[in-house]
Amino acid sequence: MPVEIPVEQWPGRVIEETLGATPAEGGTRSRVVKVGGENTLPFMLTDGEMPNPPRIAIEILDQRPKDWSPLLLEAWGDVVDDPAKWAKAAEEAGADLVLLQLSLTRDGGKPTTAADAKALTRAVLQATGLPILVFGPGQVDADNELLVAVAEEAAGERIVLGICEEKNYRTIVAAALANGHLVNGRTAMDVNLAKQLNILIADMGLPLDRIIMDPTTASLGYGIEYGYSVMERLRLAALQGDKMTQLPMLVTPGFEAWRQKEAKVGEGVPASWGDWRQRAVLWETLTATNLILSGADIVVLRHPETVKRVRAFIDRMMAK
């Protein structure tokens, strides 16, 4: 019995964005990374095309992490004491992108200064040829001060500045405008809020192809279904032609998974949770895999083993 394959062609397409700039484009990256561009649901290559596979960013901190799981510290070793070495290690671990997360304070509790932020950005840019993302500590004043400095230091490199939120996006967007960067706009797991922030950022004159949206997510077992559905809805809206949702999506499964006990700790948990090492990687891997299935274009990860796992899955999904 001949069955007609139900192909779905969508009128909309996610904008393709370019992260990083090579010397020819005014930067120093050894290659650029393109994200987005799909006109189909994730991996539904019978319906449309996905010119770029979902990308993997590895999150590195500006100093030895204080509250990270010992498993992560063990996996990275001493490089966590030096962001430049860490960035290089991340590149070697198979990242497409390196995300530098700035902290509120430096050694001894002194506030991170604009000069620190510049030096850190420069060090990471020198250590890796990958395009980078730099996220501020998440406090309005500090973010604005540090990210403006970062934006200047990395002028021309097409880095991604984060995080723009509704309560604080104007300064970061202005810094991106002035220095040719992209921004990451984060909203709390809600389609309309995401769309609204995109409109607000675009209203300031930043072209849509320099905005990435971060709909926020949650870990496996801790509310992931909200993020999952919000991303599916955003992507469907984009494919149906809603311009203000046609942006690539970035989510942070690494952060979300590793804050949960399932990944973070090995003791004082039920025996039914099984082997800690495998469970930890599994938790981050499944969180990331599932979010990729709901439309993530960039996943930010923490453990090198997860990177391998997620990469292998993406490769299999993209295989023709």
Binding site: M1, P2, V3, E4, I5, P6, E8, L41, F43, M44, L45, T46, D67, A218, L220, G221, Y222, G223, I224, E225, Y226, Y228, S229, E232, R233, L236, R259, Q260, E262, P270, A271, S272, W273, G274, D275, Q278, R279, V281, L282, W283, T285, L286, T289, N290, L293, S294, R309, A312, F313, R316, M317, M318, A319
Partner: protein, 449 residues
Amino acid sequence: MALTGLQIYKLLPQTNCKECGFPTCLAFAMKLAAKQAELSACPYVSEEAKAQLDAASAPPIRLVVVEGPGHKVEAGNETVIFRHEKTFYHPPGLFLRVKDSWPLEQVKGAAKEAMDYIVTYVGMNLHLDGVAVESASGNPEAFAAAVKAVREVTDRPLILMASDPAVLKAGLAAADGTRPLLYAATAENWQAVAEVAKAANVPVAVRADSLDGLADLTEKVKGVGIQDIVLDPGVRDPAGTLVTLTHLRRLALKKNFRPLGFPIITFPGEGASDVIEEAQLAAEHIAKYAGFIVLDRFAPEMAYALLAWRVNIYTNPQEPIKVQPGVYEINNPTADSPVMITTNFSITYFSVANEVDGSGLPGWLLVADAEGMSVLTAWAAGKFDAEKIAKTVKTTGIEEKINHRKLIIPGAVAVLMGEVEEELPGWQILVGPREAVDLPGYLKLWKSF
């Protein structure tokens, strides 16, 4: 064009006899319209009406049930492609595969370990659903022995896997007292396998490597008089599985294509080389349209992750996960640790608990039964008011655990402060931050309040 509830109501007897399980004919009609009920539940519907309604009311994906004593796995009856459109109704059954070529002790051991596994997640006891026994030997006696061995350790439903109808028959006999799924009828053996399934009144899976072939088979099997069919489209790699299962779901729901309106069975282990990879594939199948998933590996951490994921995806998006109301201890609180209250919406609870946990500071977190709503929604709906807060404080016994009388209420419901003071004489009511992320900073200072 689907009929509305009102249109269906006109065709019903309108006697409100309640025998369908719904209070009125109109209520039943609306459930039929939403494709959440079957017309056969109405004993009095006229033949004429039936003919009109059948086409419109039959669920586009048939509900298939496998059973063991006291256990049941239902698959199918789904109405949407994306969970946010309504909800996914029947979580895919997770089965562990054992083979009759293994020593019986190994069969037993593997089945027992997997079937005894229980993990508690947001107050629910989660477990795998059953065992798939595969005939690797091709020998009916060996198969029957393996099935028997499995039956000795569990009452959960079974999937009997063999290509030889005689082997399946032997397995069925050994599985007496259960309603297993037979796997699988193919272009080669469908007639004989269908006969076995029909005789035993059990569901049967059909396998073909193309949708055309699959549709041929289901029509043939239906022709024998079998309604309960499960599909195996034969794909094993994750990319092909996603595409094919999506096509099947679309065909059933959007095209109302009856020959393929059945639940689907998948075998993630056949496309994976270790536990984590198998888990990735199984996770994809859970999210994207499997009805039965047969695993080849068991590890507690994998089972936990997949079971939690299954709960997540099959949560009704309009009816959020709730956590158990009560007192939650975070970071070993003592008598002088702060007391906070929030609602039992899981996301709300997790955000608050995570922040407190991450702060390293001890605290008592009271969770009020706010019908699973977030703080503001619950407040607006009157489910998180001063009375409810006071009741939670009084009934959780927190007063015996602490030596102070200070309660932190969420900043979003600052307006309740005065009323809570009235309801809880002797307590000092503190207004906490609006956002959970500001809690660690707040808790550092709370002693000064």
